[in-house]
Amino acid sequence: MSDWVFRAEGVTKSYDKGKSFANREISIEVFPGEVYGLLGPNGAGKSTFVKQVIGLLKPDSGSMRLGEHDLIVDPDAARQLCSYLPQAPMPIESFKLHEAIRLTGEIRGGERDAIAARSEELIEALQIGEWRDTLGAKLSGGVRRLVGFVMVTVVPGRVVILDEPTNDVDPLRRRLLWDQIRRLGEMGAAVFLVTHNVMEAEKSVDRLAIISDGALVAEGTPSSLKIADRGCLRLQVMLSPGAVTPELPSLAREHSRVGNLLTSVIDEDRAGDGIAWARSLMGQGIAEEYALGAITLEDAYIRLTGHVSEEPVEVAS
């Protein structure tokens, strides 16, 4: 009897004869019922990792097992036991929405009546019923993404791989989608959620791995990854358009600037000083508003990966 635990050990994948690494020695365990996030910046090796799970790519070394099945040796078993929503668009231009779902369900081995009932349930849950008879070519990107989700989960695998499932999806249906992702876990599937949307992942995953430059840099629950930042707060200052980044006070432990948003991590007991500094910036016309809040997973993510700034922080002298 299989325990259906996914175990990857030392998974390494290189390109150009070992000159660059997509994955380095990645070892993780994911249990049935868990929603497991794979987070990391673009090009970190997240998609490469899940493509090896489904058998589209083969690691240079390491092992990947699902219960008693060796997924690397037996890619046919991998395809039967795992379902995969790729990041790329789904090939459903010529399909009516419900046809695409039911046919994929049949390919995944479901019984017709059961697929029909489950398909309707998911269509209703994600509020996409008004497009039931619409051809894929006429659907918006967000709806196509939701159809893709239903296609791969109407008959779910033991492992369900979702690569950026919420891309292009509107905020309302995004929430409905997260509900359904959680339900996959309740049904006993292990869900791999590949994303770079840290804020969303924080609310939805049980555990997560942060991958940077192909290597696993941290793993745990969202709360456990924030432990290093315990006793800190995040101070966000919205700078006036065109303003040069002001000199940062000594209370700022870390900082980053994306567009006009300057984010600093400060000690909890110096919150008052932080507010005073932010107010003084507003008084000088350098900033428009500020917000003080709890540390998020994003702060931990930035600390661990070193990625966030789309432009370098230029500090005024």
Binding site: W4, K51, I54, G55, L56, L57, K58, H69, P75, D76, A77, R79, Q80, L81, Y84, P86, A88, P89, M90, P91, I92, E93, S94, F95, E99, L103, T104, G105, E106, I107, R108, G109, G110, A114, I115, A117, R118, E120, E121, A125, V154, V155, P156, G157, R158, R183, E186, M187, G188, A189
Partner: protein, 261 residues
Amino acid sequence: MTVNAIAPPLGLRAGPRYWWGSLSAVLRWQLTSMRLLLPLLVIVQMLIASGFSIGMSLFFSEVSPTVGLYLGTGSAIITLIVVGLIVAPQLIAAEKEEDTYDFTWSLPTPRSAAVVAWLVLCAIVSVPSMILALVVASWRLEIDYTLNWSIVAAVLLVLVCGTMIGYALAHAIPRPSLTQLLTQVLAFGVLGFTPITFPLENLPPWLASVHQVLPFYHMGVIVRGGLTQGLVEVLWVSYLVVLAWALTAMLVTALVLGRRK
């Protein structure tokens, strides 16, 4: 509410029911995914198939029975292989270009069922077009066929060989643009310089000897053998050459589909 949830699988599917179920589902998937293109493809193939004989009959006021038989059967043979060899690889290249290839090949179907589904799909377009080509040629070029049972084996073998060569090329070549280019070259070569619509002896000796090794000339020979009497001498070696190419293409397909980068 989650009332009708389907639980994740408890084990692996295997056996004839899995294989035939997959074949049926993949075939319906492919037919539906070509819903907009398929009717157009069939119409274009039928126009090309009948257009050749009509064109020839307009160009030459009189065509001798032997020449007529060559042209008529030749256009039918080309019609039979052109979809699997040239059009189908372009469709696979387009899948790679649109980045939908990964999803298709992540679906849990036996690779052999996916290959057979592809052969059936190509046959659905090719065989009716080939029959139309023969009927139109018979009418416009005033020719009569002498059918014998070997036509069934010949058509099946030629269809499988042509389609599998195209399929193997499309999957083996990683860059879609290269596949597009190669199929253009094949189209030019097969339609223009292959002794299917004319006798092998009409070619320069060196090119004739190349065609003794390539499958196209032999495809023409075995199909003609099933449609005519006395036009060509069908040697078992022609069947063997086509069979060898079909098996090689299948082997390459199996290797390429089994390969993971």
